[in-house]
């Protein structure tokens, strides 16, 4: 069982012009991932780009692992063109995923943009849950098919009003809190998305005394705690997103 493995590309297709869904299958024995963990994927075998890229997995089933990847720069542009059967080099699973509590509580999952990938890995593992999912436009709301089974426990919004409610997830969070005043103490928030979104959610949580966790991103060289490159400021000093994170309690993060 290795965290340094090769995998075969099974499927790779565009969901919109800026995002693709990548499915791979390890060709060596690997370790099972936990919700919120991530993998490092090598975009190319040359040294340009040099470093592997971190991606949260969406789910693992039948030995296959799925990723949702936004096209940002050099690495993701190369990954977008991964053809089926290509053998790629990967590391993982890494990081501390989302803490899952045995107690009787409501899990409020909040995703912004491609943050939905990490949130979906968790969604399968928790019971009494709600999911708030926001994106800029309809076009950027992805993987809805995988989510809609949640029915009315699934709340979706777009900034431009092109689908679901209009607005940002933090507004929906406020609404949610108002309508759950009674059992507010049993809510636990799990959030993944752009930094400003996480910041806003963390603030609202603090105001309402709700416990919550955010999955953070930072540039990474290694992904497994060796380079100290992925530090984020926390109340306990710098911590590594790849090792102590990527999931941190809201109240530990110094935003």
């Amino acid at each position: 069982m290795s965290k340094n493995f090769r995998a075969k590309v099974i499927n790779n297709f565009a969901l919109n012009p800026r995002t693709f869904l990548l499915e791979i299958e390890p060709i060596e024995e690997t370790i099972a991932p936990k919700p919120g963990q991530f993998y490092m994927i090598q975009p190319d075998s040359s040294y340009d780009p040099l470093l592997k890229r971190p991606f949260s997995y969406i789910r693992k089933s039948n030995g296959k692992i799925q990723f949702l990847c936004a096209i940002k720069g050099k690495g993701t542009r190369l990954m977008m063109n991964f053809h089926s059967n290509k053998i790629i080099s990967m590391l993982g699973p890494f990081g501390n995923g989302y803490p899952i509590f045995k107690s009787n509580h409501i899990s409020l999952l909040i995703a912004g943009g491609t943050g939905i990938a990490s949130i979906l890995s968790l969604s399968n593992e928790v019971q009494n849950k709600y999911l708030i999912y926001g994106a800029r436009t309809r076009d950027e709301l992805l993987l809805l098919d995988k989510i809609e089974e949640l029915g009315d426990r699934f709340i979706v919004c777009t900034n431009d009003c092109s689908y679901g409610k209009k607005g940002m997830v933090d507004e929906l969070l406020k609404d949610f809190i108002s309508s759950h005043k009674d059992n507010i103490n049993s809510i636990i928030i799990y959030a993944c998305g752009p930094l400003p979104m996480l910041k806003a959610i963390s603030k609202i949580s603090a105001e309402n005394n709700i416990k919550g966790f955010a999955s953070l991103e930072e540039n990474m060289a290694c992904g497994f705690g060796a380079c100290l490159g992925c530090a984020v400021k926390t109340k306990q000093g710098y911590q590594r997103v790849c090792k102590e994170g990527p999931v941190f309690p809201f109240k530990e993060i110094i935003w």
Binding site: L51, S89, N219, A221, C222, G223, F224, C227, C230
Partner: protein, 311 residues
């Protein structure tokens, strides 16, 4: 096949080491490599007091390389001895502690304490600023460097002393000689090269610290030139570092005159790099029917001319 090499009083199983700051405190790599197979492990630089390091972003990628400005974050000497050393002591390989300070007395104290704790070797990271001399780094001033090494040597007489040279100088042979003459048992080079990358959308440097150190394949040809110049100059062993990603790269350094090599950035890209390199060197020697690693060290045909007529 004989892969052993000597660095000062150390006898290494083989010439493959990890480079400081890229191998954590070794435990981080236990998932990936059999640590006992390595020639030596150089751990992340230790200072007397813990250092919290620089604000993020601390790393970014460049063409065939990366910049880092970790800012020498480390747990400090005390915690190192208490929390990290026990694990390292259990390994059957040589541990080299990379040390850094802001004054000569820092280095003296660190090496003496480590010697007394049973550590066999220290590597002096002299790229740090000397606070007493206006922040000029020890590694770019030959007189300061000579003094630093002599003082450390005087106080810690048994420990194997490796001076890690800064690449940020005009004249590597001079600094190599200074290290040798001041009592270093070996030199290692190169450390990262100060560099900058800018985000053209935000107009901000890509690292919060503005500059960072460049490492990776991009710097290999520079490192190789410096290692060769150093090896042609001194009699003490030279440890080659810079952009070593595979066995071929390592062999280039050995041919240039390095007695051993360190793998840095390569560990991030392939956490099994050190062992892959070791195996690759063995395969190479087999293929070339050479049964002692010393048969390739310094094997490059060509004399140092210090002839700068490039372009």
């Amino acid at each position: 096949m004989n892969l052993t090499v000597e660095i000062g009083r150390l006898k290494l199983k083989n010439p493959v080491m990890s480079a400081s700051g890229t191998f954590g405190y070794a435990e981080e790599f236990s998932d990936f490599v059999d640590l006992n197979k390595l020639g030596a492990i150089v751990v992340k630089g230790i200072s007397i007091k813990p250092m919290e390091g620089n604000p993020p972003p601390r790393i970014c990628e460049t063409a065939c390389g990366m910049l880092n400005s970790i800012g020498l974050q480390n747990v400090g000497l005390k915690k190192f001895l208490k929390e990290k050393l026990p694990y390292l002591n259990k390994l059957k390989t040589i541990i080299i502690v990379n040390i850094l300070g802001n004054s000569i007395s820092d280095y003296v104290k660190l090496s003496k304490t480590l010697e007394d704790s049973g550590i066999e070797a220290v590597e002096l990271n002299v790229s740090c600023p000397n606070v007493k001399k206006g922040g000029i780094s020890f590694g770019i001033n030959d007189k300061m460097l000579a003094k630093l090494i002599s003082k450390v040597r005087q106080s810690a007489q048994k420990i194997t002393l490796i001076t890690k040279l800064s690449p940020n100088v005009s004249n590597i042979p001079l600094f190599a000689k200074v290290a040798e003459d001041s009592g270093s048992d070996a030199i290692s080079l190169i450390n990262t090269i100060p560099a900058l990358a800018i985000d053209i959308e935000t107009w901000k440097p890509k690292l919060a610290n503005i500059t960072g150190g460049l490492s990776g394949p991009a710097i290999k040809p520079i490192a190789l030139r410096m290692v060769w110049e150093a090896a042609e100059t001194v009699k003490i062993p030279v440890i080659g570092i810079g952009g070593i990603m595979n066995a071929g790269d390592a062999i280039e350094f050995l041919l240039a005159g390095a007695t051993a090599i360190q793998v840095g950035t390569g560990n991030f890209v392939n956490p099994g790099a050190t062992i892959d390199i070791l195996e690759g060197i063995e395969d190479y020697l087999k293929r070339k029917s050479i049964n002692d690693i010393k048969g390739i060290i310094g094997g490059m045909n060509g004399k140092c001319t210090n002839n700068n007529s490039d372009n």
